[in-house]
């Protein structure tokens, strides 16, 4: 194990904080989304599309998906660090996870901006 002074460089603090901030935002968005669904009429295509077409809701939803991908990155990376001991395999999996998450984020943007 590498010997190092663990104070002063904020090892992991930024990721830890990002995971919490995105979590809080997603809780708020979920509450809003559930509120809208429960308060509204049964969904048809028109109302479902209208829901995401509003500029504000679209912005909030984009923020949700970007938060989700950042949040998932920290979480999945933590799991890989704990259970995948071989450094080469771990790097490979982390690279795959990053690509999937960036791809997901791009896809989510495309879905919302196409409307």
């Amino acid at each position: 194990m590498v010997k190092r002074i663990v104070v002063g460089a904020h090892y992991g603090l930024r990721d830890w904080l990002a995971q919490r901030i995105t979590a809080i935002y997603m809780v708020a968005y979920t509450a809003l989304f559930v509120g809208i669904l429960v308060g509204g009429a049964p969904l048809d295509y028109a109302s479902w599309k209208a829901l995401f077409s509003g500029q504000l809701m679209r912005l909030l939803t984009v923020l949700f998906f970007l938060s989700l991908m950042l949040h998932a990155w920290v979480g999945v990376r933590d799991i890989l660090m704990d259970y995948v001991k071989a450094a080469g395999l771990r790097l490979l999996l982390e690279a795959a996870v990053i690509l999937v998450l960036v791809g997901n984020a791009a896809w989510a943007l495309q879905i919302l901006w196409r409307l």
Partner: protein
């Protein structure tokens, strides 16, 4: 300053041993990981459903039909539980981050609340949707 230097120490991650000896808060934590992993793996599928449902009225109808298939309902129910567990356990962890509910009796109580809430809501929403 020497006590700030990290000592080389053995890490203990035998999942099978831990699974047998974990307390309830430990299970909440482990289920948080499992549910998070499932949600991560399912994101592409859920994005596909969102994509199709917003594409056209015909595709919206297709998604509605697709989601009514028993073989689709089952994984969806698992994902519903995953989301609810991750949601409530996550809120519990956020409180623990700010030192609320850290002591063992409280941590055990909130663990029961998280389990009960996520399972009950999964059953209620599951019955209502299907």
């Amino acid at each position: 300053m020497s006590d700030l230097t990290q000592k080389s120490r053995p890490a203990f991650f035998n999942i099978f041993y831990l699974a047998l000896h974990l307390g309830l808060p430990g299970y909440i934590s482990f289920l948080h990981r499992i549910s998070g992993t499932l949600l991560f793996l399912a994101t592409v599928w859920l994005l596909f459903l969102l994509d199709r449902s917003l594409a056209s009225p015909e595709q919206f109808a297709f998604v509605k039909h697709y989601l009514s298939l028993p073989l689709v309902k089952l994984p969806l129910l698992v994902l519903l539980w995953s989301f609810l567990h991750h949601f409530f356990a996550g809120i519990r962890f956020l409180f623990i981050d700010v030192h609320v509910g850290v002591d063992l009796p409280t941590a055990r109580k909130t663990s029961v609340v998280v389990l009960a809430l996520s399972l009950t809501l999964t059953a209620l929403i599951g019955v209502r949707l299907w």
